[in-house]
């Protein structure tokens, strides 16, 4: 791999090279031999693992030399393939530290024409090997991540402009963006919703239903989606809560609406969630409820009237507990 760092052609590729550290790119699954192993052992190990150099270590990870294919060939030519690697290995090995920027290691690889560099930690212990292939793979992965992040930013911007179009005079709007698994933030939206509806002097029952609907929606997006946006629109008569996430959707909405149905994992359950009551509870708390859940993202809309015609509907629908 040839890389000339030229300010004119400075690309995201180079940026990644500066940004990454050696330990981000190096191979950590090391094939090593002790000095007592033979050159034949080295040759077999190289063939079996498709590698072109083997670090020679003592005490497990103390580097004492390196055997390359070149060394193996020389041993073969000298008809000395059964000699210990200690005899043929290169003892003066160039190494790099795991914490240095990747670009420095790349320069070292190029300058010296090496195919590989052993990587040492601060205690001088061998922790990895860095080859040109490792460098390419790490940079490509990083570029891929960055491309995905850029796509996400674009999608967020789109969602944001969509929301902006829904702004109407006389409508108070609350918006919270949530990230996946950010449980610390859970309840922020519900708190804002509750405060906003209380300010409008609604009954405690209405305020509670709005807060619970908002909280359940918030937790759902945090626990089950790839992040999303929660919005609330308050008019004089009602509050509409809109929850939109970035997927993965719900394969079977009818199943998900059943009480007790849950796809939550053990982590989620240990936190006290995942009883399979979220969606049914959201519906119960709302005067109007709709959900669509394609793979591209779930959208839930809930309307709660400030002066419901009969609060009895909600009372009847509420879950009865046995205490």
């Amino acid at each position: 791999m040839r890389m000339r760092i030229d300010p004119v052609t400075y690309t995201p590729f180079h940026e990644a090279l500066y940004d990454l550290r050696v330990r981000d790119a190096m191979s950590k699954n090391l094939i090593v031999l002790g000095p007592e192993a033979t050159m034949l052992d080295a040759q077999i190990a190289m063939r079996d693992h498709r590698i072109s150099g083997i670090p020679i270590v003592i005490d497990g990870d103390k580097l004492v030399g390196l055997v390359s294919i070149q060394d193996v060939i020389e041993a073969l030519v000298a008809n000395d393939i059964h000699a210990p690697v200690g005899k043929w290995m290169t003892e003066k090995v160039y190494t790099v530290r795991e914490k240095i920027p990747l670009i420095q290691a790349v320069k070292e690889l190029q300058k010296r024409g090496f195919g590989r560099l052993p990587v040492l930690n601060a205690e001088d212990r061998l922790v990895g090997m860095l080859t040109n292939n490792d460098v390419t793979r790490a940079v490509m992965l990083r570029l891929n991540e960055e491309a995905r992040a850029a796509e996400q930013r674009e999608a967020d911007l789109m969602a944001r402009s969509m929301s902006a179009t829904q702004e109407r005079p006389g409508i108070e709007r609350i918006e919270i963006r949530v990230e996946p698994m950010d449980l610390d933030a859970a309840g922020t939206f519900a708190g804002l919703v509750k405060k906003a509806v209380k300010k409008r002097g609604v009954s405690p029952d209405v305020a509670r239903r709005a807060a619970i609907a908002a909280y359940e929606a918030e937790v759902n997006v945090i626990l089950h989606s790839m992040g999303g946006i929660l919005e609330a629109f308050l008019s004089d008569q009602d509050i509409t809560i809109l929850s939109r996430d970035r997927g993965p959707g719900i394969p079977n909405v009818d199943e998900a609406m059943k009480e007790g149905f849950s796809t939550a994992n053990e982590v989620v359950r240990a936190l006290g969630f995942g009883a399979g009551m979220g969606l049914p509870n959201m519906k119960r708390c709302s005067d109007e409820f709709s959900i669509s859940a394609p793979a591209s993202g779930t959208t839930v809309t809930m309307k709660i009237l400030f002066n419901p015609p009969s609060q009895a509907t909600h009372q009847e629908n509420a879950t009865e507990e046995k205490t």
Partner: protein, 122 residues
Amino acid sequence: MELQEIIRLLNAEPLVAPEPGHPSSVHDVCAADLLSDILATKKRDFVILTGLVTPQVIRVAEATDALGVVIVRGKTPPEATLEAARKSRIPVWRCSMQLFESCVALAPLIEEKRTKEGVAPT
């Protein structure tokens, strides 16, 4: 029922004490180790009994207008939970009983209240 009576029967110690003016009368108790169950309850003016200690317990208490949280099994909640409780003015107690034991301890009180009100026990 008096909030203080519940606390006395549970032998619970305050971690975040109720502020002056906090309602002293409680209508019901909601015992659950799943937040979803608390969120789905139709009870009013209730105290939460739970073994959960995350700040989300406080968020749920706030959303459901709960009058306080009793943490069972002698668990110590993280500071973040107590901080959230202070902020939201939700009192928190800790008792060493298991969740079931705490329900048993409160059963006579709840039964007495229901008899007084003429409500059949559920």
